[in-house]
Each structure stands twice: as structure tokens, then as C-alpha cells.
């Protein structure tokens, strides 16, 4: 598949998830139970991107020791829990990562 075809298919599926419910839904199709479960979608999906990006190194193997990303991510998470700020979480994580790889 060419890059452009891939981009267009990804665009289509993204658009359809936005459009389907607005265009087709009848209220009774979505009960509280389904709403409740769907509210967990971010918690179920984002870690699948976060964890491998932190624990799996560039050569594709699991790295627990000598891995500054783990410490930086923990610092970012703690800052995030206390401040509830998206921007503070990102920048505290990046700043600690840079501190760990360039200064120490």
C-alpha cells in the first residue's frame, strides 16, 4: 500500500468514528453501561503506546536498567497527578530526561 493510500484510509476511519454516532445514533442505542465502558477507552489504549515507548529500547528489547526514560516518566506522572496540567506533565518529563542524559 502506498503512503498516500495508508494516510487516506487512516483519515477515513478517523472521520467515520466521529461521524457515525452523530449521523446514525438513536438515543436508545447507547445505554449508560456502554457509555461507562467507553469512558475507559483512553485508559485502555494510551498505555499501550506509553509503556513500550519507555521500556522497549531502540533495538526492540526490554530495558529496565540504565534507562533514564523510566525515571523521567515517573517524575512526569507525579507532577501530572499533583498539577493535573497537561503542559506541566510534558515539560517536567522532557526536562528531567534532558537533565539525566546531558547533565548526569
Amino acid at each position: 500500500m502506498s503512503n498516500w493510500a495508508l494516510i487516506i484510509y487512516c483519515g477515513l476511519i478517523t472521520y467515520l468514528t466521529r461521524f457515525t454516532m452523530i449521523a446514525l445514533i438513536k438515543k436508545e442505542m447507547f445505554n449508560d453501561r456502554i457509555r461507562e465502558v467507553l469512558s475507559f477507552v483512553p485508559s485502555a489504549i494510551f498505555p499501550a503506546i506509553i509503556f513500550p515507548a519507555i521500556f522497549i529500547n531502540d533495538s526492540g528489547s526490554f530495558q529496565l536498567e540504565d534507562n533514564p526514560k523510566i525515571i523521567a516518566a515517573i517524575i512526569a506522572m507525579v507532577i501530572g497527578i499533583f498539577t493535573r496540567s497537561i503542559i506541566a506533565t510534558i515539560f517536567s518529563g522532557l526536562a528531567s530526561y534532558w537533565f539525566l542524559i546531558f547533565v548526569i
Binding site: L6, C10, I13, L38, I45, A53, I56, I86, I90, L94
Partner: protein, 230 residues
């Protein structure tokens, strides 16, 4: 009744604070896409056609890991399933609109616009209240496209050893800050993360995003059920 333009402006003002993190997110996307080997035109095309930060980053992540197109597309679909929830929630406010407006608004139904307009739509009953959602979505569109472009331009100037790709997990981590305080969410986060990490090399076709997400959702279904029967 308030004019549509005023409601549109209100949407822009309300969404503005949420635009601060979009700036680094867009820059990182542009830089990474060029780094991975997409052309500037393809990178811009992704932001214009897909217009979804999480979808685009997942596309890059899996593409650079050598996943097949089918896995990439279905993973993007899985990441986007949260929009079904947004659509279901706002649809009751849009049910009287013409189809053409539903088609336009769907393109702008993004996390940030949903977050602010959901509140507004609940509190206001004007017929033209949906302009709030369009205002928020259009603001994010302008920022997303311009930061992508800036990222493309900066792409070659930013040294690789800065480790900017680490900003990807950080951005997603930041989107979960409100969930770390809820026990069921924390369990779901850990299960999904463990399945993805341990399965990274063993789950075929790089389908670890889908498998981990399903494991997380099943965990959520079981835990929320128990909670209720108590």
C-alpha cells in the same frame, strides 16, 4: 438569541487554554514524521486528512516499527473508538441539523472541542449553539496545521540526540493525568501497559496496541460490574 458569530467566538475563547499543549504536540508530530521518512507533502496531508493527534502519532509509531497497513489502520481505528462516545454524547444536541452540518461538524469533533463544548451545549438551548463546537474545532485546526508545518520546517534543524521522540509517551501520559486518581483506571492502565510491553515482541503483526487495548477494556468491564453488585 445570540448571534452565531458570537457563539463561534465564545468557542474560540473557551478552547484557547487547551491549545497550549497542542503546540508542542504538533511540532513533535511534524519533526518525527520527517525523521521517519515521510515527505513534507505527506506529513501535511496527514494533518489535513486525518486531523487527529493520537491517530497520527500511532500511525508514525507503528509505521516506523514496520507494521503492516492493515494493523496500522485497525490500530488507528481502535485509538479513535473514543470518538464514538463523543459523537453519542453530542448527537442529542445536533439531531435537528441538516446532514451537511453533521458532515462538517464531524470533522471538528476532536478531544479538546468536545471537552469544552459538551459543557456549553448542556447549559445553552439556542438553536445555533453548535457554533460553539465549530469555533473550538476550527481553532484547533488552525493551530494543528500551522504547528505541523513549523515542525516540517524545523525537522532537519532539530538534532536527533535531543531524544524528542520521548515526547510521544509523555504527551499520552499527560492526557491521562485525571485518570491516575481513580483506582479502576489505574488498574486498567497497568494491565494495558503490561500486555503491550510484554507482548511487544511476541504478539504477531505488531498488533500489541489492539490486544493491549482489548485487555484493558475487558478489565474495565469486569471491574465496573463488580463495583455495581457490591
Amino acid at each position: 438569541m445570540k448571534s452565531s458569530f458570537k457563539i463561534f467566538l465564545k468557542g474560540i475563547i473557551d478552547v484557547s487554554p487547551l491549545m497550549i499543549p497542542v503546540v508542542p504536540f504538533g511540532l513533535i508530530f511534524g519533526v518525527l514524521a520527517i525523521d521517519i521518512g515521510f515527505s513534507p507533502l505527506e506529513t501535511m496531508g496527514m494533518s489535513l486528512i486525518i486531523f487527529g493527534g493520537a491517530s497520527q502519532i500511532v500511525l508514525l509509531q507503528l509505521f516506523s516499527g514496520g507494521a503492516s497497513s492493515l494493523v496500522i489502520i485497525s490500530s488507528v481505528g481502535a485509538v479513535n473508538s473514543r470518538h464514538l462516545l463523543y459523537g453519542a454524547v453530542v448527537s442529542e444536541h445536533l439531531s435537528d441539523l441538516k446532514l451537511i452540518w453533521k458532515i462538517i461538524i464531524s470533522y471538528f469533533l476532536i478531544d479538546q472541542a468536545f471537552a469544552i463544548s459538551n459543557e456549553y451545549l448542556k447549559k445553552n438551548k439556542n438553536n445555533n449553539r453548535y457554533f460553539h463546537l465549530v469555533g473550538g474545532g476550527a481553532t484547533c485546526w488552525v493551530i494543528w496545521q500551522s504547528t505541523t508545518l513549523l515542525g516540517i520546517i524545523l525537522g532537519s534543524a532539530i538534532p536527533e540526540k535531543l531524544g524528542l521522540s520521548f515526547a510521544v509517551p509523555l504527551t499520552f501520559l499527560a492526557l491521562l493525568v485525571n485518570d491516575f486518581r481513580k483506582l479502576i483506571n489505574v488498574v486498567v492502565i497497568i494491565i494495558s501497559g503490561l500486555v503491550a510491553t510484554l507482548g511487544y515482541n511476541y504478539i504477531p503483526f505488531k498488533a500489541y496496541v489492539i490486544v493491549a487495548a482489548l485487555a484493558g477494556l475487558v478489565t474495565a468491564i469486569i471491574l465496573t460490574k463488580k463495583n455495581k453488585t457490591k
